[in-house]
């Protein structure tokens, strides 16, 4: 037990403008969401509806639901998801910044994609079922969780940004995340029928032309990246140039 239950919350100024923020501690039970952890996030988002900050920043580093509090944990994740969408619907940008060692998995991987913007470092990972869970439930024939290169091709920041699941790839530094957050602060994705129909079409396109790909490398090739095997080695700036024509920005 830790007094903060694995997440700190607070207020601050970014670019001189008031923001609310939360940061998960991946070293405490894998940043997993239990009753109190989730309630702190939900409370912060409720506060945003009252105070109307310039943005809410969620620094996510989590394996998802805290299995020790299983049922209370999944309900807490659902309450966070609903609260994120309520803040977005009020026109206040919610940013997910994923740069920790755990990445962002389980139900929190869905929460990240309910935010306006997702920023990732190359080393960060995002998804729903993580490599260990898939290997444990489906067997090593489905996936070998010890294959680190494959893990990064599947869940890593570069793949996520190429798909458009994340909006921006940044260097693994606080300065880079701060700058990305500053830029994204003014951007909202309205929850309207027109906007969600555009997202529907964007996802349908992905299923249509990348749906046959069971590996990141195949997907990059199918998306039109020239010599995709070099992508994992490129620094963000070079990587951005290499995938410029193949990236599928979320509408």
């Amino acid at each position: 037990v830790a007094f903060d239950d694995g997440v700190v919350i607070g207020t601050g100024l970014l670019d001189g403008r008031p923001v609310l923020g939360a940061s998960q501690e991946g070293r405490f039970l894998g940043g997993a969401v239990g009753e109190v952890h989730g309630a702190k996030l939900t409370g912060l988002l409720r506060r945003a509806l009252e105070e109307r900050p310039a943005a809410v920043l969620l620094l996510l580093d989590t394996g998802g639901v805290r299995l020790q509090e299983a049922n209370a944990g999944i309900i807490a994740v659902s309450e966070v998801m609903r609260a994120v969408l309520a803040v977005r619907a009020a026109g206040i940008p919610v940013l997910a910044l994923v740069g920790g060692a755990w990445g962002c998995f389980g139900g929190m991987g869905i929460v990240a994609r309910c935010c306006d913007t997702v920023v990732m470092s190359e080393e960060a990972r995002m998804g729903i079922s993580g490599p260990d869970v898939i290997e444990a439930t489906r067997g090593v024939e489905e996936l070998d969780a010890s294959d680190r290169a494959m893990v990064w091709r599947t869940w890593g920041g570069k793949h996520r940004v190429l798909l458009g699941e994340a909006d921006q790839l940044v260097e693994d530094s606080l300065t880079a995340f701060r700058e990305a957050a500053r830029q994204a602060m003014g951007r909202t994705r309205p929850l309207t029928l027109v906007a969600l129909e555009a997202e529907q079409a964007w996802l349908a396109r992905r299923l249509g032309d990348l749906g046959g790909c069971a590996d990141g490398l195949e997907a990059w090739r199918a998306a039109g990246v020239d010599r995709p095997e070099r992508l994992p080695l490129l620094e963000p700036a070079d990587w951005n140039a290499a995938v410029a024509g193949a990236r599928r920005a979320r509408p």
Binding site: A39, G43, A70, N71, A72, V133, L191, L196, C213
Partner: protein, 237 residues
Amino acid sequence: VSVEPLLRQLFPGGHAVRREGDLLVGTGRTPAGELAVLGLCDGVEVGVELALRLAAEVLRVVREHPGRPILTLVDSRGQRMSKRDEVLGLNGFLGHLASCVELARRQGHLVLALVHGQASSGSFLALGMMADEIHAVDGAVLSVMNLPAMSKVTKIPLERLETLSRGSPVLAPGLANYVRLGCVSSVWQPPLSAALEAALARRPGPDRRAAQGLERGGRTLAEPVARRVSGVVTDGE
């Protein structure tokens, strides 16, 4: 409860719900008017295709039938766990589905969920748990993850988990625990059509699950902590 008898009990006045694989889609007739029905059956795991199909249906109802209430029928073991689904970004498809249900609620569609089989993990988060109110029929099984899978992931022996879950409402899968924790509003008893009619009389509103968990004594920290952090003090405090 198998699907045909369930639909007959819910809609004695008739329904036009068709089954496409493990997807249920259509309309049901109630004394209050037509209801959009969107459901899952046979415990199907939701992968990228099904998530997108569900989202398309929610958007279609919002576009073509403004304000029509939506009933989601939940029977799903969770998200499909595969490398391909992860490569394609299943979390994003589920986030989109959740956003579509949120849009429907905000456009004035009352969204109800009825768990008639299993409800678990990713698919429950993105569909059933996005409803204004979640109900269940007797015998429904709600969990985060089934115990054999949890045992594999946590490396805790299955027998140990079974023993632990007998004594803990927080850990044990099961309908009664989700009622106590405030997630499931009520368990519907026959006649189901009457329970549906009563539920349809409610209006869309904010998330009341934490408050419900507090009232029922199953989840006593969520609401006080969230309220304290939110800085919003209500009457009587």
